[in-house]
Symmetry: C2
Subunit: 366 residues, 2 copies
Amino acid sequence: MTLPAPLAPHSVIGILGGGQLAKMLVQAAAELGFRAAIYSDDWGPALDVAGSHLIGPYENLARLDEFARAVDVVTYEFENVPVVAAEHLARRVAVRPGPQALRVAQDRSVEKAFIAGLGIPVAPFVAVREASDVAAAAATMAGWQSPAILKTARLGYDGKGQARVAVPGDLAAAFAGLGSVPAVLERRIDFAFEISVIGVRAQDGSLACYDVPRNTHEGGILRSSVVPAGLSAAIDARARDVAGRIASALDYVGVLGVEMFYLGDKSTTPLLVNEIAPRVHNSGHWTMDACAVSQFENHIRAVAGWPLGTTARHSNAEMRNLIGHEADAWPALAADRDLCLHLYGKREARQGRKMGHVTRLAPRGP
Amino acid sequence: MTLPAPLAPHSVIGILGGGQLAKMLVQAAAELGFRAAIYSDDWGPALDVAGSHLIGPYENLARLDEFARAVDVVTYEFENVPVVAAEHLARRVAVRPGPQALRVAQDRSVEKAFIAGLGIPVAPFVAVREASDVAAAAATMAGWQSPAILKTARLGYDGKGQARVAVPGDLAAAFAGLGSVPAVLERRIDFAFEISVIGVRAQDGSLACYDVPRNTHEGGILRSSVVPAGLSAAIDARARDVAGRIASALDYVGVLGVEMFYLGDKSTTPLLVNEIAPRVHNSGHWTMDACAVSQFENHIRAVAGWPLGTTARHSNAEMRNLIGHEADAWPALAADRDLCLHLYGKREARQGRKMGHVTRLAPRGP
């Protein structure tokens, strides 16, 4: 198989989505001499830095055609790009990662079945597609002898579209409460902590992973990511292996985030995959400050057909999100000389909205 | 004295000039949540990343007025901004660094007299403003008992506007060869190597310097900058002190580059100031990769009235410019996993043109 030639500098990287991830991708692309064009259905901070942009619904095929003509490759910053849009674009210009990754990541049922099908442990789950599935799912849950979480199959992010289910008898009400849309019931996992693998796969199939961060969430939103995570070498290697197998199975190109629960070394399944994100990932933001090549640059390198850059880190790091009005404290944050400050340039601080992040660096430890 | 309030995120940083330094300033501003607007007399790579731009001659006062209305502060990427333009803008909006720094840096005679006036050693020099000055200058040069270099007082950069003068009798021809424009004759210095201090001064007068790089030039163009430079602690401290005194004397705000010749610890004048650059400086590009806060971010912080970020470096670094067609080797450079690659996005590689740079990082040493 002959690989396409790498894109030369000055080529245009097209990005679907205009949020902070797109903004950081644009910045990384510009550092390598690329230009960037955004397609978004709304204003977003990426529009302030991109060389050009188109605003339109993701389903507007004529507008997508216009976008395809203006760019040399298409990538995206979020997994809820309509598959029909990605497939339409893919008939005109390379789309990386390919639409297959979107198809898997967009539906939690499909995603969990796909990962489990690779022989990779996931939390026990059962699909609840419609009200008539509730009784069987409740029976499955009874067998778990554990509380569970009901998650909508589609369009969930940052803790949205989720409901706790304490006992099987609560499932029907929880399903109705989420709007009776297709969902997945998952056994609640008593994990030690959460980790993620930020991997990047090039067009030639080569793969590299950043050091694994330990993540904490609050209210379903990522609060902080810390490297090193303090994992044993064996668990660390297993986590990377899992991410690599998922990326290979998807014939993936670009950065892939794989969120995992770490249950402790004594567990028979020390790692369970929670979900995958076919894009640069919030838990990899520390790579901007602690690595010579960030996840954003490596994503651009991969989608442009370039060789991967190093994923080594030169420093230990603790990344903390600035959520909602936390970013209003920018004068104090700017005065803290131990912090690398990143503000996304969003015009309005709403509750739960990611407005920026800070990274605290420390000399590299084990 | 009350300092103006720091500019809030979303404020617009206006930058005069559209080249690679402006581009890197725009990128740094965007990371802090600022927007950027460029005023330039020609297309340049900064226009691909700035939120907005105006193209016009720097002497077009009406166009400058339009620019002033669109921005919250003005800074610049090059020292040859017409002083009249900076002064015109300064009556409408804060210009940082102030026009005074431009006035000094634009004329080599003024600059050398200014620095010498602070009691800081410079290479012996004599002004050659017109042909009638040649005889006296040649007599001065005879006293040096050394070859000399004739440099135009204005608009010299990257080795342009310079001529070697081997013996006093050659001066008249050299002066004519440079167009009989006002010039400065400098004694040629036998230095051990060149260094520079990249300092940054905040609005409150606080000052910080990055670690001092050792620089090499080829054909008058910066070839490489290496940190650490290998200076003794005493010389290192003296270099920083000199930069600080110059910045304070100019009541400077922003990043200032001070180029120096290092003559060896045994010299009675181990350091001579060569020239100053009232802007971010090519010999500080390694700070993008080797420091938590780059010279570009610290310049933006200073002009926005923010506290300075750290100037500490986490790694040793060697920065090498990509000049002219050297950047055509991007496939090999991209494949070298030890390099941080920066391409400026210029559309055409001309001889002597800075097209990008690479930085090689190594674990931090002394």
